[in-house]
């Protein structure tokens, strides 16, 4: 493996060796972009399902920046060279790797859904689980809520992009929300959220100058949001989730609508107090826009109350905070590093 320029960008101190499994997709590329310049992680293994290709052939923008062979992923080989593995794999595929890697002593940050849910919820919405033993040991990787647990675990279940932006906006209000009424979540995602695979939905001519909802009131992120709200608050909320695809490459916006138990809540005050020590949350007194957190690990949040009605408006970069930069933050915490180490704070604006 040959890494161009890398030495200039990193100190020479002891590093953690890391593997990236699932290098082909957008999430894989974002992980690479973060890890290449990370001062404490050393990439020692890059794999996908096929192997036999150079990483800069998969991702031409890495030309002259980073070069290595992409290998056909093999857990035993990974365990020989890496202390921690990022799994950017489809659900089901992910659990088989995680199971084996954990057994071999490799820490795992799993970006799939495989360890995010309780067993029965998972099997209801996905498929039979093949690594039931590790589910109770996994920690849900939302640092603002599970930072301490993440420090001590070997397995982080990295949250879904929609749940990340939704939960960061809504969890601070759990005690105030009237759970007798439904919560409606109108979500909007850039096309990178639909993955790199070509389809009629992601053809430029189909989605440019267009927008459409998909899987309304039946998206798999609905139970993830519901379950995490239950765990945090002890209450059963009725979550109703409608995602949309937008003619935008990256980014995600969540608009949540719900009823409060009482009038007169000051939502911005609550948010500012709740997140006062959190460097990756920005509270706004006007609606947020999708682009401002682009390229960063920020979650931007605005909220407004009229009478008993609460409106929460949050945005993230779907493939960073909604996936890869949150994964690196979790890995930083697992390894005892500063949470934001190596994660950009400068947005892709303009």
């Amino acid at each position: 493996m040959y890494v161009i320029r890398k030495s200039n960008l990193k100190s020479d101190k002891l590093k953690i060796t890391v593997a990236l499994i699932g290098a082909s997709g957008y999430t894989g590329l974002e992980l690479l972009k973060l890890l290449i310049v990370h001062p404490k992680f050393e990439i020692t293994y890059v794999g996908n399902s096929e192997g036999g290709i150079k990483v800069e052939e998969l991702h031409p923008s890495l030309k002259s920046v980073f070069s290595c062979d992409v290998l056909k992923s093999d857990a035993k080989e990974i365990a020989k060279v890496a202390q921690l593995a990022f799994l950017a794999l489809p659900h089901k595929t992910s659990m088989s790797f995680a199971k084996e890697l954990l057994k071999l002593g490799v820490k795992v940050v799993d970006l799939s859904a495989d360890y995010r849910l309780k067993l029965d919820t998972y099997e209801k919405y996905y498929c039979p689980h093949e690594d039931k033993k590790n589910i109770p040991n996994s920690v849900y990787g939302l640092p603002e809520f599970y930072r301490e647990q993440i420090k001590d675990t070997s397995l982080v279940a990295n949250p879904g992009c929609y749940p990340t932006a939704t939960l960061l906006g809504i969890l601070p209000f759990c005690e105030f929300i009237d759970e007798k009424y439904p919560i409606f979540i109108d979500a909007k995602s850039g096309v990178s959220g639909a993955g790199k695979k070509c389809s009629s939905k992601t053809h430029f001519v189909s989605i440019d100058e267009n927008i459409f909802a998909y899987n309304p009131l039946m998206h798999r992120h609905e139970p993830e949001i519901k379950e995490k709200m239950k765990i945090y608050s002890g209450k059963n909320f009725d979550i109703n989730f409608v995602p949309h695809l937008l003619p935008i490459i990256r980014g995600e916006m969540i608009d949540s609508y719900m009823l409060l138990k009482e009038d007169g809540l000051k939502p911005l005050k609550i948010l500012r107090e709740f997140y006062k020590n959190e460097p990756n949350i920005r509270i706004y007194d006007h609606p947020v826009d999708m682009k401002s957190p682009s390229g960063t690990n920020f979650c931007d949040i605005f909220a407004k109350v009229v009478g008993k009605k609460l409106y929460i408006n949050s945005t993230i970069d779907n493939i960073l905070r909604g996936s890869s930069s949150q994964a690196v933050a979790n890995a930083n915490i697992m390894c005892g590093f500063e949470e934001n180490l190596g994660i950009p704070i400068i947005a892709y604006v303009p």
Copy 2:
């Protein structure tokens, strides 16, 4: 006035002479596009606030298609040459023209907000009204609901774009909706809805690859929706409206969320029955997309019920069904023509 090619496209039969006041904006252009090829309307006056320009200088895409002088709008001059006037003007400006034109015997289709609301509602959300006398004579120009009244009026208040798409989706369900619970409306509009005036919000670099909400829970279309639902159903619904601007030129999508009084409603059956004779409404069994009605007068609607929760998803072309083609449909009805005369049914797809 010199009209190129027009003679080829029209029959020589008796026509209604029409004026277009407010030719400069996107709505003005859409009216021109419809009227130029309309078989029964003859454009005899095109005005804006300044005059002194050719229409193809205002709208270069009309070069070699249609040419005439744009005049500084003058009600008396209009009354000499036109039987009907389309007012594509800002609110307040519009009522002063409408008042004078109506007195001079000119029929008016007003695309502004000036005659859409009851006096007290109008003055609460806009400004003092200067033509109170004509408010009771105006008809709200949503043909599916007020076709008979439009036939007999001289003054149509053309609905706002957001209310059009919202009401067409929601009115068929009024009797089933639980009015004790708020209705949340998450609206998305293309940038043409923000008008032709340059601003930092409409600069390409600001809105491309971006989306943001504006005036959340305080948009002026909120009272319009509320009042029309009250008039239609006799009930006071609690309307909560959050519009967003999208990196799209034309089109509008409404996602409405509400509670029903009872379980088990079949929303598509209700919509299909309700609109069974309506040529400009299309009911879908999957979520609608913004582009399919682009360039036409269609409103596309999908709806879904889970338990007592109702989700309605509707799209229109914001500057056609949301403004200019609905105005021409109203003018057709007022003049005794077939409602869809001269209005395209072929979408701008791809």
Copy 3:
């Protein structure tokens, strides 16, 4: 076959029956859009390579506008019901249908490359030709140059999109261009020009916010331009063609650069004189934009001379003037109708 609303839009006079073969692509949709509302053509057959689908399933924007079964294309069946056929097929496939249809007495407008070139040119750039007999009988369907021949032929070879925009700009200058120097053509196309098939190049994430050249100096449209210039002028020009893909759905711009034999040419005067009776050509005294001819059959042209250097800048709608509306214009001419019959002149602006 069931056609909604069609009767309202057409007179009942005697019509020409037409078949559309190759209904699935963007070109097929544009043909449908034109033919549905055409006053003199009656669609009696719609086919593609598979059949067994409704046309509004192939093209959802046609819902409630036009409905018919799409059949597995069969020349004998076509000949039973249609007097003229539009072939929107890949090259090679097209010639086999054309051959058979012509034998059965059906007129053909072929949108593929199969009859555009002389035999040797075709076989050099495409494949062995299987209908050599009909090549000499075909007419190149650029009406401004071959109108008289089109009237009398049974086989029109509809020009390629790039050659259309290039030749309309450049042919008026053939006598002035210095053929000892190369002509450089920098072409830009919307993504619809790359077809409906999904690929990594047409994925929204690949082409949005991006532009790239493809097949530089080796595109198949290069010999088409060269040969047509030779036929028209008797001279061998050295054509060098570099096409680019743009993050735009429809439209095409050609920028041509060349040397003149002498100084002092007035290019706009030449263009205005050359095209003075041509309704589908618009000459501008400033650079043209891609959107103004969108939705129409116009070719917009600007040109500028500095010393001996000539710059020509032309735009068309790539799937209308560059394909389907030019095909309908050719069919109109072949059938003795007015050339622009049923072809929109109102652009998709804004």
Copy 4:
């Protein structure tokens, strides 16, 4: 001035203090983004023409990242706190600041056109020059060609975006190009190149789904390219430049067409040899795309020869390599730092 998080990102070693004058535009934002995380530059002054605003109000994406007062720019105040100043100002305004700052001993990187050209060329294309004395002392800031001179100067004239991408592609070929024949340059720029000021050209509705040329064969970057080629090669080339605006936020592509003196040139071999030690140039064996260098200081180049015809295809990020990152690279060289210090190499892809 309060800088959030900055201490985490920088070492505590001795730094150069820098001022940014002209903080409001896109170029100003890009400079801020680079300087905030630069390990050796310490921002001590941020100014614009008005002052009285916080930098995160000018650029909301900097919220929680960087905060300081933006001051009404004053050369004497700048000289008190800064050793080097970046001038992101309009031409003419820039020279008045540069003159004063240089007198006060402040090094200057001028991003305007004011010191790029010889006096007579400047005054022909711009305006009378008010700092003639410093023109001969300025160095043209194209590091690949003037690295040594940049080390020793106090005044760098940062190249224009179009000349940067053009010259990096074309200069390696100067000795092979036939100067008797014109060079045609077809340039394409994202909208950020047109600046932050709102205008009808930069309104989303005007440029989305559109493209147009502007100032064809008369753009001010034409003489800059010509003069730099003359200085480098001693030859007078005939440069013909046609820029286009694209519906893209950032990036720039240059397509150059010219004739060589002889057949058989291997352009990629020449480029690879010429730039073999240059870390910021990437040579491709296929056409380049606009997005791959986005967010970086790279210039990506492809070239192809057919006979005597040479086609060069180069792309840069117009507001980084075409402006701000090149400015920082120049400042690095002037201060004796590594040229790429603090400049990202990871592209904004996807």
